[in-house]
Amino acid sequence: MNFPIWELHWAGGGLLIALIAVFHVYIAHFAVGGGLFLVLTEHLGYRRNSPAILDYTKRHTKFFLLVTMVLGGITGVGIWFIISLVAPAATSQLIHTFVFAWAIEWVFFLGEIVALFIYFYTFGKMGARNHLTIGWLYFFFGWMSLFMINGIIGFMLTPGDWLTTRDFWDGFFNPTFWPSLAFRTFIALILAGLYGFVTATWEKDPQTRESLVRYCATWLLAPFAFLLLSGWWYVSVLPENAQAMVLGANPEIAPYLQGFLWISAVLFAGGLLMAVRMPAAIKRPMALVLLVIGLLYMGCFETVREAGRRPYLIHGYMYSNAILAGTEDAISAEGYLQTSGWHRNREITPENARDAGREIFRGQCAACHSIGGPLHDIKRLSAHYGTVGLEAQIAGMGKIYSYMPRFAGTAQERKALAAYIVHDLVGDPEVTQQTRPRPELDLEIPAFDAQDDEYVLLAWCTLGEKCISDSDSRFSMLPPGSTLMAQLIRRGPLPELVTEDVEVTFTAPAGFENPSNHVEFWKYAPSLVGKELAPNVSAKGLGMSGVMTPNDQNLTFLADGIPVLPYMDDGTVNPYPVFTIEAKDKASGEILATTKVVAPISTEIGCKNCHSGTWRHEGAMGISVTTASDVLARHDRRHKTELLPQAEAGKPVLCQSCHPDPLLKAEGDPALLNLPAAIHGFHANYLSGAPDAEPCHTCHPTGPDSYTYCARGTHASKGLTCVNCHGTLEDHALSLLKAEKEAGKPKADLLMRHLKPRLVASVEEIEPRKPWNDQPDCLSCHVDFEPPQDAEPSAFNQWVRGPEGLYRMRTDDAGLMCESCHGSTHAEYPAVNAFHPDLDAIQPLQYQGHPGPIGSRDNCAVCHTEDMFYEFHHLNILGER
């Protein structure tokens, strides 16, 4: 089933079919309705004994003959020619399935021609009864032609049981056969009146003209109610996804459906207007205008029908690009170029990649996408993507939205295709990785006197990887608010955690004090979080410096909601600001201990990779307005929201105002997927099949190519990636979606359908998890706190059901929080920071001179002032490294 492809550029995407077909169909339906019109009008002429009516009928027959024979008949063959040229595989399938239906139609075509010629040439010479019989025979043959072709066209949209039985009758008398036949018959009658206006308004005698025009108006007006009813019937028997698309799920179809409904009203009104007495000078042009409007009317209907069938030519069987439904996976395994014919390139090499991309485009995309032309211009549609984004789009298309088929090809072919489109068609040059150079940072490790100092102050940011969405004028999903925790230890053989009579403060580093000067969060706070906020103060009420809140339960100090941002007043972009933490005696004000801690914060969320635009802060990070607007525009288009216009009117919202999210304790609309499940679930469909943590790096600034490079802890140094704990993107998304599915949320299934787990054998084996609260656990790999035994350790699918019990919430047996000695998540000691090696090792260096966990390498004396031999804090604490 592999034919060569006629390479069209401007005229591609089905334009030629559309033009020829709509033109033909407009005349052909007129031929059917007009056939009845002629014979009934002749009959009327005899009954009223009116030579004027008979003359008109004869005149109209000549008009009819010329239009339907010269233009109608040949363009009908024209459709056959053009579909054979542009879609030979589908045409061949139709021809081989329905050869005898077409052969039967041909008999009717022959009968039509003979009848029409005789009807015209013997008009006035043949006896009335026989002449009328000839007329009725013409109409019969014409309507039977419609009957036959209607079966085949309906089959393309609703093949019905043919898909399993391959039976001619199942295919011919398919689910839309009767409603479509009714619909087309009524349109044919309406068109008979519409065309009739043309010849009627050219009638010379005013009296006759008026009565004839009114007569034609009756033909136009009477069938309308039946037309709309049969249209409703037609839509109601459509298959689910086609029906959804036609009724508005596909934004492209909407204008044509609306056009159809509006023009129905216009034609109806036009018909009524034509019945009003007016001079010929007005009526003649009106008749022609209505004729043109009728053509648009037909075009709207046929476009809705064709577009509703997307992405198929034969629904459920063959896609518009001739690929058979269900074969995508097999083709993707072997390669599209290998499994289809008429390609010069079979294997992709660096030399032929661009040409291979062109062949893949021609084979899989050109059937619907023109190049620079009016139909689905690929240049216009791909303009903003770039190769990363376009590869993702190609990988994900057809999985969630059904108007396109899935791409059938290897990852390499996908790359070649994206490169061809982006570089050769859209014309974007090759993009080289450009990252802003990181600033030179100074860092002074605070002093510690191991002999004399009475206290050890440990402080950490609970999250080692924290992002803020600085797209506030459009939306916010991660508003500013970082969390610092601290524990104060009085040193001695039996150290003590101290909270009473002590005040612990946090102070922002110089240059970071004014986050509200750098982002618009504070400007839009009333709209985003529902209240006015003072500058540089977060929604939780904390400023950039202040007092930490003691917790007598777990003996910690907490500052929850520090609105720190990576933007310094001098323009530097630094995602690792260093806060100063000070413990003071409440009564005397004496400083008991000082330390410093990094509060990591980034805005390097990679939406721009697919959603156009560049970084807001060049080469570094930040979601630009262009990018954020594109995100909203797509959300609005797919989900019928109004987020972009709302934001442009100054009222952006928090994503969590609709999507539940435990992070912000947002309840949202409980029927919707929670935000992490929605985002990861949706995007996983587009970023799947990629190696290891590559998809994670597309959005999160975790990889070595990012500016922030926040995967920097001891695990990262040992070569572990996000995947080792969180699973691949598919696994990660499925774990979130499965929980949502079990909670009964309808959209979960749609997103899960094409996701396949990679670390476990099946979705059944996936353990569902709630975002933020259910996380991988250290002890899954570090059994009994030992180093992991596996060469490739994996903590995936073994969740701690938190938030209690999570690493960042847990203590050892002495009451020390895990993070106090081991550092933040993703920055576990010893951590290496790309901006300055010591940034994530301040306290280990301060207290023990090396970057490992506090107390490691026999440094129990940091807190105990002497060596320890008993493993009190946790098992294996004294273990061999």
Binding site: P4, S92, H96, V107, L137, G341, R344
Partner: protein, 355 residues
Amino acid sequence: MDPTNFIPQALPIPVEWGWFYLFQMLTFILHILVMNVMLGASIIALVHHLRGKAETEPLTKSISVKLPFTIAFAVNFGVAPLLFIQILYGQFIYTSSVLMAVYWLSVVGLVIIAYASAYIYDFSYVSLGNLRTVFIAVTTACLLATAFIYTNNMTLMLSPALWEAYFDNPWGTLLNTMDPSVLPRYLHFVASSVAVAGLALALFYRFKVKNDPGAQRWVRHGMNWYAYTTMVQMALGLWFLSALPEHVTDLLLGGSLAHTLIFVTGATIGIFSISNALSYNVGTSAILSLTTIILMIFLRDLVRDAYLAPYFQVSDRVVTGEYLPLVLFILTLAAGLCVVAWMLRTAATDSEVRS
């Protein structure tokens, strides 16, 4: 590159190939006859207009009235064999059509223009005056172009070895002019058209026209067109024969009994038709000519299968065995022909003057 790699997969057919072969041949015979009259009459009329002799007026006027009918039926009888060819040889003809897509599609436009021009020539024959030459010229030119495009497609579909040219030209503007058999084949069909049109005119004036003293003149005129054009046709036929691929020519010159018999019989009868035409034996010439045409059409089918023999046998096609639609078609055809016959008879006999 091995041409077989390019040939798309053949789809199953509902009933045995013989049915489609039969239908294809029957309808193609009708198509050729009507098409010949259409093209040939246009050419004859144009020649007369260009010569500018007033005495051929009745002839050209007569042609002008009939021409639109011939176009309508040439198209109608053309779609039927095209359908059956796609059933039996779809993987070849769809491919060759795509390779010459721009030309193939332009046939639609060419035929519409030819048809419209023919109607103008017909309905405005008198009022156009000398300008009518333009319209008949347009019709003739468009039809000649159409014929040339068809000849290219019908030969390109038989030559998978040439399809590789697609890789240098995927824009649908390939033709098959490098094939030496294209020109003689094309001219063979054009000549046939002129000859058959002449014969048709002779038949018309001999049997249909009553009470016209000038009729006999047109009978001779038509038979002369037939006779002399068929002589040229013989020469063109020999040229065509020699330009065929060697293995095909061999079949016709003794390599295969069936092929040779049909070829020789057809050619011989054709020669006899010339002699009868020169003697103005209209009826006999017509029968001989028709026999020749039928044999030559059958030969054409055999030649087609010979071209494709290295790649494909029509009998290879898988049959699904769905007979009811075939039965329904045959019944519809029979009923349809009966109705058509009734309509024609009524048109001929019921001509009361309107009161």
